[in-house]
Symmetry: C2
Amino acid sequence: MQAAIIHGDRDVRLENVPDPVLATDGPGSGLDAIVRVAASCVCGSDLWPYRGIDKVEAPRRIGHEFVGIVEEIGTNVENVRVGDFVIAPFHICDNTCLNCRNGWSVHCLHGGFWGSDPQTGGSADAGQGERVRVPLADGTLVVVPGRPDPSLIPALLTLSDVMPTGHHAAVSGGVSKDSTVAVVGDGAVGLCAVIAAKRLGAARIVAMSRHADRQELARQFGATDIVPERGEAGVAKVKEMFDGIGPDVVLECVGTKESMDQALRSARPGGQVGFVGVPYGGPLEVGTMFSSNVGVRGGVAPVRNYLDELLIDVLDGTIQPGRVFDAEMPLSDIPAAYAAMDERRAIKVLLRP
Amino acid sequence: MQAAIIHGDRDVRLENVPDPVLATDGPGSGLDAIVRVAASCVCGSDLWPYRGIDKVEAPRRIGHEFVGIVEEIGTNVENVRVGDFVIAPFHICDNTCLNCRNGWSVHCLHGGFWGSDPQTGGSADAGQGERVRVPLADGTLVVVPGRPDPSLIPALLTLSDVMPTGHHAAVSGGVSKDSTVAVVGDGAVGLCAVIAAKRLGAARIVAMSRHADRQELARQFGATDIVPERGEAGVAKVKEMFDGIGPDVVLECVGTKESMDQALRSARPGGQVGFVGVPYGGPLEVGTMFSSNVGVRGGVAPVRNYLDELLIDVLDGTIQPGRVFDAEMPLSDIPAAYAAMDERRAIKVLLRP
């Protein structure tokens, strides 16, 4: 079968790789499943190794967002059946350990991330390929009832990562009914954070964006205001919009030092930053936090814990996060998909096998 | 009258200063009060300039914790009467502005801190003296009903700062019923954080302390466990005590980089650090926060907002934070009071005029 391999800076290739097979010995044997991918996509965080910011030591599988149909299951798999349409979170988890039960499945004591096998520590399948072996299938996979309408596949695919990650920003920021919110970052995660803030009852949502197409999508998702300014000017503008003190919550969905500083300095005294941008660029000024009482909370999203709740809203159309995909390509065009995201010609590219 | 003046490194002197007088012109006139100090004390944060870590540019008044009796009031003061016994928070506030109404009186739009006048920006009285002019007296001061029994004065004095600051750590950390908690720091604030965690319903409270007298006081205040180890060993010990993953909440009550790192690495995945130690020592590792989902929240405590609630519990004896004072001296011995705290011979020194 074919799957994406990253070799180094701006070098992702579709290559022939061994077909996945169910594990037959070792600690994870009998607990896995093989999924035929119906759709996958490229994540903003895939661009870190693509751009050479994360060094690629050796060629490796890449991709962590996919949905598909179960083709085979291990002998001890109980929650997933052959033929089920499933969503795979960007992390592997048993959904039973202490961290999973606490609501933190992304920190599962027996889990891990696509591309490495949490049971053996060795290499494993990742999401951008034709088929994927899923470790701990009972814990990891979420079954979509019935056979979803093809038009829903983009929205279901966002449940692998960007929609629950945007939701995690909003939950970490403490967004609730009548909150005032600013969102830093207009990528797919930032746009999903707008959806999440609206869904949690925010009264006013400011999208920080300077791109007309993303501004328009943010408005459709529930943004009440758009601020194109950044940095100091962005902080000043947002403070001014909220009685001179700033909004209750700022959602940081970029990950640079500049975006985090902007978020931290935009929130009102005693406010909160919910952050989900993978941090590249340096530490947090704790003195600023101390003198403003602005809290900071966030990180890798516990996708599995959020999935049941968000799936309901996707299936009934309450939220439409699938609209963050503004391009679709066959898996064979994967170099072009990465280039389109790298050059910001696309918000997010959906890949069909 | 006499008041404490800090001149430089380890140089605090009691000196003759002008008697305070009510302001008769300018924006704050008519809104202030003169309080005769019944008791004041030395704060851990007073040791930063005393130790030369905060540079003292010119001799200035010092001290920000006091209780006393109102001697004079401005013409527009309504909530405070001559003869009232009052508690002064470590910050000045009007208790009516947007930040005050949001619960963040320490960020009052018209307030400030002892030693400088928030209305004029000029020099003003501080807490370690015989009498103090209190700006914005209606907002700042809290009246204790009746005339408190002298035995209650130490506990009432802790309501100026250390008790609400310990409470702020616990609130910022999200301590609630059945929380598991570790407290980093065994100074007066750390000990008050133990009281606060117990008061908010924590199921288990670990005090990190290597001093027998402080360990004993922590136990009396509600600590269920004592851990003398610090740094890596402290983190490992605390993780191990809570199923290998750590407690829900860690309260950071020191302010050094080491103590903050220890706090951040001790909390369970998805846990929370509530911090109130004045940060000296460098920024926060946001990468550690991201990969663990441990949130960090805290800062200068909004004392005025917490006072009504905590005062009730002090008056009825539910909490006894006055026991953090293990030494008492006359104001004239103020150099000795600073030395005793600096050399850790005393947890906290109470000063009587």
